[in-house]
């Protein structure tokens, strides 16, 4: 069978053809929206027309079968229209209230987890992990699964003080920029890369390998036509491994998970915030990472208990102070919590006013 003629540089299809008629008709003319419950919201246009959105979680890694099932649901209830959110949820649209319950019933009968709207935990933004990445220090999909299995009620019903955005990165490359999340889990290394001299000689560009090191720990090793590493300068970022495959850094005994907290991306009330280190290392313990789940549980419980209405994790911590954060969570403050990298000096406390803990 012959192939159709290929086209190049046509760009994506125009989005307008995929918009539900009510959405298309009221484009730019929405007046307000209301969150009806964890999984349903309604947007009301100036014309008075309404569009109901029903949101459900996906695992992001999807078989074509499941996407076809989403299509079946969209065809049955939504005239074939659907969308995905930036946090890997699927959204279905209906144009009248009477169509909401049948859609919800259908989703429920198929065991969909409906929710993620409002002051709750939405779906987790994450990277590829062992499913598809060469530099993964841990898996991402598995961590997402065990975290969301634990906290699914905060997706589908229970409310928090504000949104709690969780993210997982399988290494410090942090594809998807998890570094501004309320809670992020990051795969980390604890040991320097090994140098496979034969491989470096044959397959790596030595100047770019040296240049890739943020702490100038890598220098030439002319005798071996390779490189050497000043071990005490290496902070195990793995950037050299990205540039030179002959410097593997994976270490199954020592790789682990760091937890960072208190970041956000919105500008509401306070400017966007970076997440900061809460726990430098927990064991990489698949398939269900119990140590990681336990610590996230503690952090979330204290946030739930202590945060005032509308406070994000970072706003809550800023109000109570980091020293208090460590005392209420019982997490140990270690030497690794004190910054020794690029922005270190901005983090030192230059006041005698702090809290006793």
């Amino acid at each position: 069978m012959s192939l159709p003629d290929r086209k190049t540089d046509i760009g994506p299809p125009h989005y307008e053809q995929f918009l539900h008629p009510v959405i298309k008709k009221n484009f730019g003319k929405w007046k307000y929206h209301e969150e009806i419950n964890a999984g349903v919201m309604v947007h009301v246009a100036e014309s008075g027309e309404k569009i109901y959105t029903v949101r459900a979680a996906t695992p992001r890694l999807l078989a074509t079968d499941t996407i076809r099932e989403y299509c079946d649901i969209a065809e049955k209830h939504c005239d074939g229209y659907l969308r995905f959110t930036t946090r890997n949820n699927v959204e279905f649209f209906v144009d009248s209230e009477s169509k909401v319950q049948p859609l919800l019933d259908d989703l429920k009968s198929k065991d969909y987890l409906v929710g993620g709207i409002g002051a709750r935990i939405s779906n987790v933004v994450h990277t590829q992990g062992w499913v598809h990445c060469h530099s993964a220090a841990t898996d991402a999909s598995g961590l997402v699964k065990v975290i969301m299995d634990e906290f699914h009620e905060y997706f589908s019903s229970k409310e928090l003080a504000n949104r709690c955005r969780i993210a997982v990165a399988c290494c410090v490359n942090m594809c998807g920029a998890v570094h501004c999340s309320d809670i992020a889990l990051v795969g980390v290394h604890k040991t320097p890369p090994r140098i496979m001299h034969e491989g470096v000689k044959n397959s790596c560009e030595i100047p770019s390998t040296i240049a890739s090191c943020p702490t100038t720990a890598i220098s030439p090793d002319p005798a071996n036509k390779s490189v050497k590493i000043k071990l005490e300068k290496c902070m195990y970022c793995g950037n050299c491994y990205s540039v030179c495959p002959a410097m593997p850094i994976a270490d199954t005994e020592n790789d682990g998970i760091a937890i960072v907290v208190g970041g956000k991306v919105s500008n509401l009330r306070k400017p966007p915030m970076f997440s900061k280190l809460a726990v430098p290392w927990l064991p990489n313990n698949p398939p269900r990472w119990p140590e990681v789940v336990d610590v996230v549980k503690i952090i979330l419980k204290e946030y739930e208990k202590g945060a005032r209405k509308h406070e994000r994790m970072g706003e809550w911590i800023a109000r109570i102070s980091w020293e208090k954060f460590f005392s209420v969570t019982g997490l140990e403050f270690k030497i690794q919590h004190i910054d020794d990298f690029t922005y270190a000096r901005e983090t030192f406390r230059t006041t005698a006013a702090f809290k006793w803990t």
């Binding site: 890694l61 989403y70 930036t86 991306v265 919105s266």
Partner: protein
């Protein structure tokens, strides 16, 4: 097809309430040898706590230098189905809207040419078709492109621009983020598909400062919708809110600039002191709406921590009208790229380059006037440069 491998560890991740990615792999594995071997290899990773993917090689479609990420198993003898397991990035429509017909068409092609596994969506915002062989790339591309789809960006190129859903279903959007994203994507097809930059360049377009697309955290250039006039207040709706919320505690007291007062049932905003953070509007969406003189704030420079630490985008243009044909915007982008191209080192993001050569130098070279909105505070040291014209000779 019966199960090819035992997967006791992954089976543990079929338990629980949240939808399981393992179930997804099993669904595809029932039809595809590639997906079956993926399941086997991931199980081994769970057992050994070690990834089994090699660095990507250079693979792609004719005439493009991006859009496909090469991926190979490091144990192809054991798992021949994933000996090649390349990613194809399909440029998703702005706002991630689809019709079932469009999705079905792509899924049918993907079952024909690939593993049947996808990501909806990848972190940058592409539809990810996960896992195929090199020889399938050309036929797949012919099939998808002839149906109106194209590949996204990868490598040292413009990455697939992405946006919030904007005016399509959000009353807060101050700019048509989808139209802008579509236009940028079309405008820079060459820069997207043929990598020629020092490193990647990401555009993210958000309709308002809530920034649902996380542009300040992860876009080299963030375009954020805003307004220049006054928040529109509907006092009747304020009264309705008064019966169901504590306006003083949730709106007045949480305003970061203290520009809102609420007395005698009337809400007053001193717009000249408003920083447009969106908090009050998000709390009382029926009563408060953004102004009508709309445009965007342009920020530059964010990236994840590799190499010298994470950066957030910072303001370079406080206000720009974002209306077609976006000439002012493209002129700015082209000037920035020219500067980056001239000065940037290999694998140096624009934000890192500005840090290295300094923000004042960037402003001078690119021809942008300094403005207090660009900084949180002026410098605290006395070490500043002057130009020749500032000196009396």
């Amino acid at each position: 097809m019966s199960k090819k491998y035992d997967t006791p560890l992954l089976d543990e991740l079929k338990k629980g309430v949240f939808p399981s990615f393992v179930v997804e792999m099993e669904k595809a594995a029932a039809r595809s040898d590639m997906a079956a071997d993926l399941l086997g290899q991931v199980e081994l990773s769970y057992k050994e706590k070690l990834t089994h993917w090699k660095h990507g090689g250079i693979v792609g479609v004719r005439g493009y230098g991006s859009g496909v990420i090469g991926r190979y198993s490091d144990i192809p003898d054991k798992f021949p189905g994933v000996a090649h397991f390349h990613t194809v990035r399909i440029n998703a429509p702005s706002g991630f809207y689809y019709t079932s017909n469009a999705l079905r068409e792509i899924m049918d092609l993907w079952d024909k040419y690939g593993s049947g596994m996808t990501n909806m969506h990848g972190s940058t915002g592409d539809m990810i078709l996960l896992g195929t062989r090199s020889e399938n790339l050309e036929p797949l591309f012919a099939e998808v492109s002839s149906r109106g789809w194209d590949l996204g960006g990868s490598g040292s190129a413009v990455r697939t621009p992405s946006c919030c859903l904007g005016m399509s279903r959000c009353e807060w959007s101050n700019i048509d983020s989808q139209a802008i994203t579509y236009d940028i994507t079309q405008h820079y097809q060459d820069e997207m598909h043929r990598p020629a930059f020092p490193y990647k360049f990401k555009f993210k377009i958000a309709g308002c400062a809530v920034d649902c697309i996380a542009s300040i955290a992860r876009a080299d250039m963030s375009v954020i919708g805003t307004w220049r006039d006054k928040i529109r207040v509907d006092q009747n709706e304020v009264k309705n809110y008064a019966s169901k919320m504590d306006i003083k505690a949730e709106v007045v007291d949480l305003c970061p600039t203290g520009c809102i007062t609420y007395t005698g049932g009337e809400l007053t905003i001193d717009d000249s002191n408003c920083s447009r953070c969106m908090n009050c509007i998000a709390r009382m969406t029926k009563a408060l709406r953004p102004g009508v003189e709309k445009g965007a704030t342009i920020l530059l420079g964010s990236k994840a921590p590799i190499v010298t630490g994470a950066l957030m985008s910072w303001v370079i243009v406080p206000f720009m009208k974002m209306e077609p044909p976006y000439d002012e915007f493209y002129e700015l982008v082209d000037k920035i790229w020219e500067w980056w191209d001239e000065n940037g080192k290999n694998r140096e993001r624009i934000g890192e380059l500005i840090e290295r050569l300094t923000f004042p130098r960037f402003l001078k070279d690119v021809g942008i006037e300094p403005h207090p909105a660009m900084v949180k505070e002026p410098r605290r040291d006395p070490f500043f440069f002057w130009s020749e014209e500032d000196i009396k000779r």
